[in-house]
Amino acid sequence: MVEVAVPMSLRFRADEPADEPAVSLDAFLDQPNAFSVRIEGGDDVRRLAPALDRLKLVEIDFPRFRDGRGYSSARILREMGYRGELKAVGDVLVDQLLFMRRCGFDSFGPNQTIDLDVAAKALGEYDYVYQQAADGRVPVWKLRHG
């Protein structure tokens, strides 16, 4: 798969980005010194469990924006305790950013330009959420009952 030059990057982390290209899941598990991995739609991210400590960057690919497997992969990683960078790459559109943030993504490498003003608006659209997810936002049911 040809890597398209990423025209832009959106990142919600204060630390420095990992400076190692992400390798496939199989390659990563075979290379004890690697710290960046790229997850494809069908990969089982739970295979990363023993390697979480060394992991700095997980890129999750969205070959088509309608392929929602990456949302589960992201959330599972956060549930496992992964705190490194979680980046959504590929066919990522501004209207998916909020759901992706909620699933634990904290950076984005879309293959088309995203208007940053539209992105900011999209991310701030909802004051309240119904469910707990990976972003730590307090769900409405908790607000109701303390």
Partner: protein, 544 residues
């Protein structure tokens, strides 16, 4: 019924503004149709044959007068004076302009309504027993659970781009009026030996190209775990459901491919992994919601007597009125299947009348059913006659509940861009052929369902007699199926033989009905006779 608090209202209001922006960006050309389509579908906006179509959610089939009046208003102001009740208890408007959609959603939001996730690859409206809170045969009112699940599944971020649509059906009775076995997930509320509430969980039902009856994957799930368990089900499917062939992406295909035992095992495994995360809503939240569903203030000591001296009223009571758990009360079903009418369609004026009747006679509560009728769940028997008179004056008093003319029909090729054939004219011809009330009563219960294409929005697989429209070299052709049922005895109809023209299938159905009458034993419905004798006698009668 449930009332929004400020959080619910804020969420719906934010959705309206978000969609307003998205529509503006689409109209300005900042998004292609390909990019915009999933977004508008998440707000119930289809592009159909003649215009955009908006599907408004009527959560678990419960609506009040104020909301109904807004639907009537939308029909008049933004549409062409009518709406359509669907087989998932929602309402559709067929003539919507994209530029009006945000304003329509804003008007709906003011009365706590929306079109969220009513189409697209979303978790759709939860359907529920239309007799909830009124029938004696339920363990509790299932609707508080439906509301809890509705909130849990609204804008769930992990499941925003599922392989395909996802439909949940809910009942709290062994008599399944909600067809839960033909849903992606069917939930039956029950109690265990200790009296604790829980769910029987069925997964993998559905109609369409590859119909299946749902499989039992968990006999008793403690009620408080329903959200995390649903999350496990959805996650297993989101991760492993097929994404390569749109006809193979429903959860029923995954359940079938893995086998129900393996599917259940994977769900249990996932559930074990996530149970401790605290995603479940606490009992207090259930109780908060349930407080909106306490029984209405029924009058006590009312008489169960009814003056049935008016024969037309008596006929309506006989067919359309069911027993209520409270003495002196009844459940009244209003048939939207007038002979020669359009199944499920209601004019704005009729919607206003339904609002008035619900408000005046039924504790402000109306229930659309998946059979495209509506129910007044809590009427005093003493009021039945007055109600019937008003219905009669408005053409809404057809006494045909569950009779052969109580036909479920999708909109079909008259409205729907997916259809192969029209369904409504066929429904009209069939209703006219069997119009004679005495003949209908003699035939008895016969659930006839028509779909204009394999997507099965008319639920033809679940019809005692089902009709499926197919395209045969550019002409409309109709296949006949027998033996389906959406009730607790769920079964899928079987095609009886080669297809027919529109007039041909009317004749074929008549021959089948006459055959049934000739060979039935005492008390047998058409479905029972078919199950007893099989297809051959009917094939013989139809094809000679």
């Amino acid at each position: 019924m449930y009332r929004y608090d400020r959080y619910d209202q804020a969420i719906v209001d934010a959705r309206v503004e978000e969609f307003r922006d998205q529509v503006a960006r689409r109209i300005a050309g900042e998004m292609t149709d390909d990019q915009f389509k999933p977004l508008r579908l998440k707000n119930g906006l289809y592009l159909q044959l003649h215009a955009y179509m908006l599907r408004v959610a009527i959560p678990y089939g419960t609506i009040n007068a104020k909301q109904l009046r807004v639907l009537a208003h939308i029909a008049r102001k933004y549409d062409r004076g009518y709406g359509h009740f669907t087989t998932r208890q929602n309402m559709q408007f067929n003539w919507i302009r994209l530029e009006d959609a945000p304003e329509i959603l804003a008007e709906l939001a003011k009365v706590e309504m929306h079109a969220i996730q009513t189409s697209g690859e979303s978790i759709r409206n939860i359907s529920a027993d239309q007799f909830a809170g009124a029938a004696a045969d339920e363990v509790c009112d299932p609707r508080p659970w439906a509301e809890l699940i509705r909130q849990y599944t609204t804008f769930h971020p992990e499941f925003s781009y599922l392989p395909r649509k996802f439909k949940i059906g809910l009942t709290a009775s062994d008599n399944d009026r909600a067809a839960i076995k033909l849903h992606d997930v069917g939930l039956q509320v029950r109690r265990d030996e200790k009296g604790e509430f829980g769910f029987r969980v069925l997964v993998g039902g559905g109609m369409g190209r590859t119909p299946f009856v749902a499989h039992l994957i968990r006999d008793f799930l403690p009620a408080g775990s329903i959200c995390s368990y649903l999350e496990a089900i959805l996650r297993v499917w989101n991760r492993h459901g097929r994404r390569d062939n749109i006809h193979k992406q429903r959860i029923k295909i995954l359940v079938h491919d893995l086998g129900p035992e393996e599917f259940a095992r994977q769900v249990e495994e996932e559930w074990q992994a996530i149970q401790h995360l605290g995603d479940d809503m606490p009992l207090k939240e259930y109780e908060r919601i349930a407080a909106y569903f306490t029984p209405p203030r029924f009058e006590q000591g009312l008489s169960d007597d009814l003056d049935l001296s008016d024969p037309r009223f008596a006929a309506w009571v006989e067919r359309n009125v069911d027993a209520h758990k409270q003495p002196g009360y009844a459940i009244a079903t209003i048939s939207l299947k007038a002979i020669g009418g359009i199944p499920g369609d209601v004019s704005a004026d009729q919607i206003d009348l339904l609002a008035d009747l619900a408000e005046q006679y039924s504790f402000d509560d109306l229930r659309p059913t998946h059979a495209q009728n509506v129910v007044l769940p809590h009427v005093r028997k003493a009021d039945l006659y007055a109600i019937w008179q008003k219905l009669d004056a408005a053409g809404l008093a057809t006494a045909n509940l569950d009779l052969i003319s109580d036909i479920i029909a999708c909109p079909g090729l008259d409205y729907c861009s997916l259809a192969n054939t029209r369904s409504i004219p066929l429904a009209q011809k069939l209703a006219e052929r069997f119009a004679d009330p005495a003949r209908q009563l003699d035939i008895g219960e016969l659930k006839l369902k028509i779909s204009g294409c394999i997507n099965a929005c008319g639920h033809h697989h679940a019809g005692h007699i089902g009709v499926l429209g197919v395209d045969r070299k550019g002409t409309e052709n109709f296949q006949l199926l027998f033996g389906g049922s959406g009730a607790e005895d769920a079964s899928l109809g079987k095609i009886i033989g080669p297809g027919f023209s529109e007039d041909g299938v009317v004749d074929a159905i008549e021959r089948a009905v006459e055959k049934y009458r000739a060979i039935r034993t005492d008390g047998e419905r058409f479905l029972d006779t078919y199950r007893r004798v099989g297809s051959d006698p009917f094939k013989e009668a139809i094809y000679g």
